[in-house]
């Protein structure tokens, strides 16, 4: 009898263990929100960058918990940071899940602010999706409150009808960053103005590339390096609102053709296939024969600097052959937020206040979204960089930023940009012919976006 009881108890505890396992997990998910209404601001982001900026310039911040997950404001409101990595689309997956549940979520569980990157900002600013609030609904007048922002950042954060649904503190004009020693060797000067003259447009830089080739140098590392310049200047968006046809712009075809030409001519390093891989990183080292890279402010700080193994002062910046923008994080107020006043305050403090933006530029070397502020920075010696041998990069960034014409966006951009480069990599390396590469792109894009029915090619 005793044995029986023990056996029964054991069996029961096993089952109970299994069941409580599920129950417990579900409960702990809901518990975080058990605070009173309107007292929690949930912010979705992919790294600590935004939190640091908020802590630095938002005056209401009192303290942040040691683990960095909760920031308390002076009035007792808590900001909960929900951070998921950007890699492999994890961030977007988690954010999408939360947004789909937004309508049914308890007030303190609702997403209040979320961030997006230029590559996929349009997915969220889409008027039909209606997940990012128009700024005017928050009480922000973009014409007046954000007048000092660069125009193209406002366009990027707007939906098809031109209603601005996001705002950014960052602006990412790109420059041409080149090795001073190679410039000395080939051109006899490393003066940014003189070098800038040699790379001022595509025709001139092609002649310069031949000069570099004659001395055994590559102009750029990989064909992917120039993609942003072409891809950001397309005339029409990849997919028009309400259509299911992808139109591959003439500019993209130009990129393919000129990349092939450059690669075959030996102006690019054949062994570097695309960006963000080991070969690309190595091509930024002192052993490399690569003359220049096309990078924005963050690229110089977070990509070039860590990969450079020589002394500071070996690099310099100058104007790129064509103005372009690469990257940028947008702040959106999420539809259904229960803290509209705080959200408005945060957006204004981070993206519409010149002093705050200049402070961010100084502390984190971001190129920030203030036209007049950046013009001042361009003349201010305090912004000079050791890494660039005392050159002030803002002097070159500012005019580029003012001349950027941003390409029209669509919510399919991320996949299109990624897959067209992948599909034509094979063509550029001579593995497949041109027609096959086209077919491969069509296959891949229809896999990624099941609603795409047709791909139209220019030419």
């Amino acid at each position: 009898m005793k044995k029986k009881v023990i056996a029964a108890l054991l069996a029961a505890s096993m089952c109970a263990g299994v069941l409580t396992g599920c129950g417990g997990a579900a409960k702990s998910g809901g518990e975080t929100a058990a605070v009173e209404e309107g007292k929690v601001i949930n912010i979705y982001s992919w790294n600590e960058e935004f939190r640091q900026r908020v802590e630095a310039v938002y005056p209401e911040v009192k303290e942040t918990s040691a683990d960095g997950t909760v920031t308390t404001l002076n009035d007792g409101t808590e900001i909960h940071w929900i951070i998921n990595p950007n890699q492999d689309g994890v961030y977007q997956q988690k954010l999408d899940e939360a947004l789909l549940k937004q309508a049914d979520a308890a007030a303190d569980d609702k997403v209040d602010i979320f961030l997006s990157e230029t590559d996929y900002v349009n997915k969220y600013t889409d008027a039909d999706a209606d997940v990012a609030m128009p700024l005017t609904d928050l009480g922000i007048d973009p014409e007046k409150d954000l007048a000092d922002q660069y125009g193209f950042t406002k366009t990027t954060a707007s939906d098809m009808e031109g209603v601005q649904r996001g705002s950014t503190w960052q602006c990412c004009p790109g420059l041409l960053v080149y090795r001073r020693d190679i410039a000395m060797d080939v051109f006899g000067t490393d003066d940014p103005a003189a070098v800038g003259e040699k790379v001022k447009d595509w025709d001139t830089i092609k002649n310069t590339a031949a000069e570099l080739k004659a001395k055994g140098y590559y102009t750029f590392a990989s064909y992917a390096d120039t993609f942003r310049l072409y891809g950001n200047s397309i005339e029409e968006s990849w997919v028009k609102q309400g259509e299911t046809t992808i139109k591959v712009d003439q500019k993209i075809m130009d990129w393919i053709n000129s990349s092939k030409e450059w690669l075959d001519a030996g102006y690019l390093d054949k062994t570097v296939k695309g960006q963000w891989n080991d070969d690309w990183n190595k091509s930024m080292g002192s052993e490399s024969k690569v003359f220049a890279f096309l990078l924005p402010a963050w690229g110089i700080d977070f990509v070039l600097k860590p990969n450079w193994d020589g002394d500071d002062g070996a690099w310099a910046v100058t104007n790129p052959p064509q103005e372009y923008n690469w990257g940028g994080s947008y702040i959106h107020a999420c539809t259904g937020t229960d803290n509209p006043e705080h959200v408005k305050d945060i957006i204004l403090a981070l993206t519409g206040n010149k002093d705050n933006l200049l402070k961010i530029s100084k502390d984190y070397s971001d190129f920030t979204n203030t036209t007049s502020g950046m013009q001042e920075a361009a003349k201010d010696e305090a912004f000079a960089s050791e890494f660039l041998k005392g050159q002030n990069p803002f002097e070159y960034f500012a005019p580029v930023a003012e001349n950027i014409k941003i390409a029209p966006l669509s919510s399919y951009d991320q996949g299109c940009v990624e897959l067209i480069q992948n599909s034509f990599s094979d063509y550029l390396q001579g593995k497949v012919d041109y027609e096959k590469a086209k077919v491969n792109f069509e296959t891949a894009i229809k896999e990624r976006y099941p609603d795409i029915t047709e791909v139209q090619w220019s030419e």
Binding site: K4, A7, A8, A11, M14, C15, G17, V18, G89, D96, L99, L100, K123, Y124, D126, D128, A129, V131, T271, V272, K273, N277, D278, D279, K282, S411, N422, S425, D426, Q429, K431, V432, K436, N440, T443, A444, E447, R448, Y449, P450, D451
Partner: protein
């Protein structure tokens, strides 16, 4: 009477104890499984953050998969699997025979057993990452070959079909041959020593011993190895995914079926992914059935079939 009821209640407790497993299986495996099949008849995906569907569309997903390059990816998977499996089973058999041979008395057996199993302990993705770096165009393998003067120009391993496929095959071989060796060793050690002794007295050579004694006697384990390897091969994903950055480069020649499935899941296309899973399920079921029949042959010399034929003939004659 009393004794009888006691034995019944023991059986009952047995069911109670295995209940948690079946509960878990039902909730976490069976229901999602059936759901997968159900969704395969629906149009159900996400465009941006807008959900499309689910709308019932019958067999349309299945039809459009047949029109896609699915069969090509199936062939890729098969090629990649064969490249890895053939050396794997050959080397494993050879090592297993050597390790179990009493005459050879290999020293440090334990050490080698651990060493050959080690690659399996590394996560496949980490392993792929490592190979990606080692065999990259500016990587160490190229540098070593260059400095030894074996090659003049850097080899673009991952840019060629042969290079990529052989690397994937080689990695799968490295990761799994240790596991197979240990399983086959267990099988061979299960064979009675008497058989080997008798064979030896009759003057059996090493090769004949292997071919006529070991192979037939370890057939059940070989069948198990083959079945698990086939299922594992069909599900090949992590190594080619990481090595080719999910693209199956070059020209999609190293794109496996599961990588194809994964690219549908990027858009949360549950309908299409479900249909593909059902196809995969059918294929693996058929493969398993064939292998099972092949290796569980209870009529190795054809005598039973011959007897049946004779019987039939006799019956006909009697009529």
């Amino acid at each position: 009477m009393r004794k009888k009821s006691k034995s019944i209640s023991y059986a009952k407790w047995g069911y109670v104890f295995i209940l948690p497993f079946f509960l878990c299986y039902f909730i976490f495996s069976l229901i999602p499984l059936l759901d997968t099949v159900r969704y395969s008849f629906f149009e159900y995906y996400r465009s941006g953050i807008k959900e499309v569907g689910p709308t019932f569309i019958g067999l349309q997903n299945y039809a459009s998969l047949l029109q896609s390059d699915m069969l090509k990816y199936g062939a890729n998977t098969l090629i990649l699997w064969v490249i890895g499996f053939i050396p794997q089973i050959l080397i494993a058999l050879l090592l297993a025979v050597w390790f179990t041979d009493v005459r050879l008395k290999i020293r440090g057996q334990q050490f080698f057993k651990v060493v050959i199993y080690l690659p399996n302990l590394i996560m496949a993705s980490a392993f792929a990452m490592l190979f990606f770096t080692i065999f990259s165009t500016n990587g160490p393998v190229n540098s070593i070959l260059m400095s030894m003067g074996i090659i003049k120009e850097r080899i673009d391993f991952l840019g060629s079909v042969l290079g990529t496929r052989s690397l994937i095959g080689f990695m799968n071989f490295l990761m799994w041959f240790g596991n197979t060796t240990i399983m086959l060793m267990a099988a061979i050690m299960g064979i009675s020593m008497d058989v080997f002794e008798a064979a030896e007295i009759d003057g059996c050579t090493g090769f004949k011993r292997f071919y006529y004694i070991i192979l037939p006697l370890i057939r059940p384990i070989l069948a198990y190895t083959l079945i698990t390897a086939i299922i594992g091969g069909l599900q090949m994903f992590d190594v080619p995914q990481i090595l080719t950055n999910g693209q199956g480069t070059p020209d999609r020649t190293s794109m496996t079926l599961i990588m194809f499935l994964n690219s549908h899941l990027k858009s949360k296309n549950y309908g299409m992914a479900g249909a593909l899973s059902v196809y995969l399920f059918i294929v693996s079921a058929i493969l398993c059935f064939i292998v099972y029949r092949m290796t569980n042959d209870n009529d190795p010399d054809g005598s039973k079939a011959a007897a049946k034929r004779r019987e039939k003939e006799e019956r006909r004659r009697r009529k």
